[in-house]
Symmetry: C2
């Protein structure tokens, strides 16, 4: 897991250099069909990449977008009219049978289908009309890290091209990742968490999928109860369960998202919670500990970099507790469900 965390900047560089022409070719083919509505199908970690993709579809591409529930196909055999729909299925392995079924059902219903996977030979890649290989290389640790950020980057490049927006901002991502990975803050804070039972992760907008993925990594590798909420939902109720025993993992970038986080942070402090922050220098300075994101990183491009300290936190908390982060109990690499 440690090696795969550290490989991420290189995996992104490969995608930016070798993978980009194919991503653009798929985007151009999709653009010619001019879909009116975007749906995402995914599970687990890739579901968080899909939520990021949904924001891109709505904000960058200007299309209404939603997430599919795979069980509507696998459990209820729903048959919807999918003409004018772009269905994007995101999966590390490309092997989940219910995702394959979702793609097949949408395609039969008239959808334009695109898979985003780390395995171009997978059943999912075959089921979709177009397939994008995120090219992160074989992922051996059971908890997904590099495949997640490669999915984020592939989705960004795809929707930026589809929207006719520039993709150049993404070129700075590998250097931003090296800067963040050089910080010792996450490893150091992980030592403090040895006895923690519960954590809450939170972010707004593009940073919300980061909070979801941070919570999932911590649950998967360290068996803590980690719950993610958008800051809006957290304030509406669950903040009541935050006290000195429950640290808050907060994603507080510069700009609108960070400003929208201020109330939740001050209420967490009032509840005597510690805050581990990934965000702007000012936000990290106001927190108990944290990792500063490079200044000027656009909020839309921030998620692949934001998750890195949380991946490290999950890795080092597992090690601190004598767990094996490469082979957590109860975790399968491919979701197989009825």
């Amino acid at each position: 897991m440690r090696a795969e965390i550290l490989e991420q900047p290189k995996a992104w560089t490969r995608l930016l250099q070798n993978g980009l022409p194919h991503v653009n070719a798929v985007a151009d083919a999709v653009a010619r069909r001019n879909p009116r509505f975007v749906l995402f199908a995914a599970r687990g970690t890739s579901d968080h990449a899909a939520i990021y993709g949904k924001y891109l579809a709505e904000i960058l591409y200007g299309r209404p977008a939603g997430l599919v529930s795979p069980s509507t196909t696998s459990l209820y055999d729903a048959k919807a009219d999918h003409r004018d729909v772009l269905l994007v299925a995101v999966s590390q392995s490309g092997g989940s049978p219910d995702l394959v079924q979702s793609v097949e059902a949408a395609r039969r219903g008239g959808a334009l289908t695109v898979s985003v996977t780390n395995n171009p030979e997978s059943a999912l890649a075959s089921a979709a009309e177009f397939s994008i290989d995120v090219g992160a290389g074989p992922e051996l640790a059971v908890a997904a890290t590099k495949s997640y950020t490669a999915e984020l980057l592939a989705l960004y490049l795809f929707f930026a091209r589809l929207a006719g927006a520039g993709q150049d901002g993404a070129r700075g991502l590998p250097d931003a990742a090296y800067a963040v990975l050089s910080s010792p803050a996450a490893e150091s804070y992980a030592r403090r968490l040895r006895f923690v039972e519960r954590m809450v992760a939170t972010g707004r907008g593009f940073s919300y999928p980061t909070a979801l993925e941070a919570a999932l990594k911590l649950m998967e590798t360290s068996y803590v109860s980690a719950q993610a909420f958008s800051a809006a939902d957290l304030m509406h109720g669950p903040l009541a369960m935050v006290d000195h025993r429950v640290p808050v993992l907060a994603v507080v970038p510069e700009g609108r998202e960070g400003r929208a986080m201020q109330e939740v942070l001050s209420r967490a402090r009032a509840a005597r919670s510690e805050v581990f922050c990934v965000g702007s220098a000012a936000a990290v300075a106001a927190a108990t500990a944290g990792t500063v994101l490079p200044a000027g990183l656009p909020e839309m491009l921030s998620p692949p970099v934001q998750i890195l300290p949380f991946q490290e936190l999950a890795l080092h908390l597992a090690l601190e507790r004598g767990e094996n982060p490469d082979l957590p109990r109860g975790l399968k690499k491919v979701t197989q469900t009825l």
Copy 2:
């Protein structure tokens, strides 16, 4: 909260008798416009009703459906082409400014908009082209109960009419609720939970929103860490954190959803977890404790009844711990966010 839980069968009867003609009139007006995609906007408890609505839109009405992220409008000012889109906004109070903004933005973009609220005088009801009053009566306890199930029932009646399906099955719901509310199982099991710190709730398909709402009620009133997962996602990783300290709240109705739950239940037992089950007689018999759902309740109509024992569990756990379930700390009735 206790009074409002017990009022639910009467609130449903009112909606089935007095509210139905208006629900049908709205559905008929929407049917004439023949929308091709359905989007839902909601927060908190109403978000769980919206997930139920999404299943109805896909399975009953045969339209691709998704959930809107209110922050794409409120935070990023996304402007998408919403022609042929039906946007359904669900909110108890109808007062959340970001939901109002989502409806206004979708309507400007060409969407047909419908609000489903417990306050026909609200800003949300005014912002939407059509408004459905769930008619649950004033809800005084801060944790929503009767407005949630009235939203579920209103959504069922609306989509059943829209799909040209019968609505008669819903007539049996009040009696099913009386049967479930007469069970002492939830109150009794709540006493056992005095020292619990963490719980996991799970369900598949139409029962998944029940798991989400059960977890939220327990967090809101009793400050436990309660996390909900679809059974598929739970097995893919988070089940690793379930052990003797973590009871599993499982929704296991008859039929496909119940069968899809069997593996997760046997794995929970293997992890020495207790299971509190709301479901078929066989499923409850195999669990530590639980409440039996009336036999023959269609899975699509089961959610309003399924949630009742969990509302009681949240109420009685709060009382068991000396908390005030009517006025939990940290909870506001109306979500107001940037």
